[in-house]
């Protein structure tokens, strides 16, 4: 394995920022986000994880899918498929693992979502291992690890004299700096791990569907949906039209898709106002069933990477690891 010095890495990232769009953890008005940077100096190095997952670089919170031009009775539509190559640096393992779930739906299930797949194809991911797990992290309980290279093109891990570079894909190899890198002497240090939380197997979930636990647990939920917004795998969306400035007597609009969440009150409302999932307990139950039962049943991957963002973000302390504990307990009592 090769080693890049701190200064060598900074030079390389500066070069990437010149050559292409470089996205990295950056402080935006006091909030840490994956955002384009102009140079390595913009990058924040000491962090647990950005507030929003790297998902938003592939499936943005609000995204234009079409532009619509209406002149009299004539309607013209244009698809707005994204272009441009990008490199994302500083990707956490939990976020890259989220692509297992996102790819399964958008890229590997027909019909393919070209907005998502184009960004995936045009983007290289440079991972940055965590030296230790954050307070609310539990990636090791959902199949990942702080230094898991799954989904990355290159994986960097901090060592004494710089960063060890692990080449994962050809796309990653093509990104490597042209300077000669030293060979790494010694071992890569192992990350410090948190105690694991229980991970109830799929079959533990269905018997608990009608348990009173869900209504109790969700009673304090504010239906604010922040859990879905910070999640690296939540991928539900709404589609709506918004006006754009009019030109030459014609009306212009954009059709956008924006993040939505099953925790929201009207998410499941159907024609006529009926709502088969109106109760808070039912909605929160769906959120957790989706992550650990429906999603794996439908697509394979578990839709939780143990990043812990929802635990940090929830204003009323609903904790997904407590739910995992509870389901495990319920399954043991009533298997």
């Amino acid at each position: 394995m090769q080693l890049i010095s701190h200064s060598g890495l900074a030079t390389w990232l500066d070069h990437l920022a010149q050559e292409t769009t470089l996205i990295a953890p950056r402080n935006v008005d006091g909030v840490l986000l994956y955002r384009p940077v102009q140079s390595s100096g913009d990058i924040v190095w000491d962090f647990v994880r950005p507030v929003l997952s790297v998902k938003e670089a592939f499936f943005p919170a609000t995204e234009r899918v079409l532009t619509i031009e209406k002149t009299g009775q004539q309607i013209r539509l244009n698809e707005t498929v994204p272009d441009g190559e990008r490199v994302i640096f500083g990707v956490r393992s939990c976020d890259a693992r989220g692509f297992l779930a996102m790819d399964a739906l958008f890229a590997n299930t027909e019909p393919v979502d070209v907005y998502y797949t184009t960004r995936r194809e045009n983007t290289a991911l440079i991972g940055l291992s965590c030296n230790e797990m954050g307070e609310t992290c539990f990636c090791t309980s959902t199949g990942g690890a702080p230094d898991d290279p799954t989904g990355m093109d290159l994986m960097l891990t901090e060592v004494d004299d710089g960063y060890a570079i692990q080449v994962i894909t050809e796309k990653g190899a093509a990104l490597l700096p042209e300077i000669t890198l030293q060979e790494l002497a010694g071992e890569i240090p192992q990350p410090v791990l948190n105690d694991p939380v229980p991970f109830p197997p799929m079959e533990a979930w269905p018997p608990q569907f009608n348990d009173a636990y869900w209504a109790d647990m969700a009673e304090r939920c504010l239906s604010c949906r922040i859990c879905a917004y910070v999640c690296p795998t939540c991928r539900c969306f709404d589609v709506r039209d918004e006006p754009l400035p009019a030109e030459n007597g014609s009306q212009h609009f954009e059709r956008i898709r924006c993040w939505d969440s099953c925790a929201g009150e009207v998410y499941r409302q159907i024609a006529g106002g009926h709502n088969p999932r109106a109760a808070k307990g039912d909605r929160m139950r769906n959120r957790f069933f989706c992550k650990f039962y429906y999603y794996p049943e439908q697509y394979g991957p578990v839709a939780c990477t143990g990043c812990g963002r929802c635990v940090d973000a929830c204003p009323v302390n609903i904790d997904i690891t407590e739910v995992m504990h509870a389901v495990q307990r319920l399954a043991e009592v009533e298997p």
Partner: protein
């Protein structure tokens, strides 16, 4: 039987996807005709570019959109047998989009994606007695199936149509119903929840009509389309008459936002109503929670 019917999927390849990269790009269709059906509903004849046949099956839906207003799923009303260069939609004025659709006239344009979903497996119904129980606007998607059966009448056994509306002014397709009542190979019964001075027919919820019919449970398939609350009671009646859950079909019309199995809104547990539904058997519905 369950597996056999479950695999009878109809096309789920979105029309707008052909030749385009975006699965969200509609084609621009033209409204050829508008008819006022009731105070709340209008019927639209829609022509795809070049008069292309929609190529749907009964029970499928299309995504209808208007620039600047949005997009919504609407079931196709016309049967494949009566769909040539135009197809037909019955649209209730019930929301932001449908409110604007109701202002459209002949010659106006709408965006269309679809047809989407799995419709009713009409091949499986062949040779059997078919009972259709429709409530309210559910008669519109039911029309697609009814007309398909009427136009291929010899392929099926008895055709029993039960239709319920809240009051006589909300009854749709009175002309078609008059035709059904004229025919001796269609048994059509209509009821209203609340009668008025003009109404001489049955009064009461749709399940009250079951006392007027005899069916052979070994030889019948039942299809119910309507408000979700109706399904539970219709299923009780059908079960009481000896039908198994595999013989009962129902349409799960959710508020799809994408129609292509991505947005999550129509999911029932781990199944997408826009892909594997909206037509599901009661047996299938029983296998997942919170379907009914």
């Amino acid at each position: 039987m369950l597996d056999a019917t479950f695999n009878l999927s109809t096309t789920t390849t979105p029309r707008a996807f052909n030749g385009h990269t975006s699965i969200y790009l509609p084609v621009i269709a033209t409204i050829e005709d508008v008819q006022v059906e009731s105070k709340l509903e209008k019927v639209y004849d829609v022509r795809l570019p070049g008069g292309e046949n929609l190529g749907h099956s009964p029970g499928q839906f299309v995504m209808v959109s208007l620039p600047g207003v949005g997009e919504a799923p609407i079931s196709v009303m016309s049967s494949p047998s009566r769909t040539h260069d135009t197809f037909r939609l019955c649209i209730r004025n019930a929301g932001d989009l449908t409110n604007v659709i109701h202002k459209l006239e002949r010659g106006d344009r709408v965006g269309i994606r679809g047809p989407f979903g799995r419709g009713f497996p009409i091949e499986v119904f062949k040779g059997k007695d078919v009972l259709i129980a429709a409530g309210g606007l559910g008669i519109a998607p039911a029309r697609s199936l009814i007309d398909q059966i009427i136009d291929n009448r010899a392929d099926f056994g008895r055709l029993i149509i039960l239709y319920g509306a809240r009051n006589p002014s909300e009854l749709l397709f009175r002309d078609a119903m008059a035709e059904w009542e004229e025919r001796d190979d269609v048994e059509a019964l209509v009821t209203v929840d609340r009668a008025d001075d003009t109404w001489l027919g049955h009064v009461g919820v749709i399940t009250r009509l079951f006392e007027h019919i005899q069916i052979n449970p070994y030889h019948t398939v039942a299809i119910t389309v309507g408000p979700p609350i109706m399904y539970r009671f219709v299923v009780m009646e059908l079960s009481g008459k000896g039908l198994t859950p595999e013989q009962i079909w129902m349409s799960f019309e959710r508020r799809m936002k994408c129609g292509v199995g991505k947005c999550g809104h129509c999911q029932v547990n781990h199944r997408y109503a826009c892909q594997e539904g909206p037509a599901w058997t009661y047996a299938e519905a029983l296998a997942f929670e919170e379907a009914l």
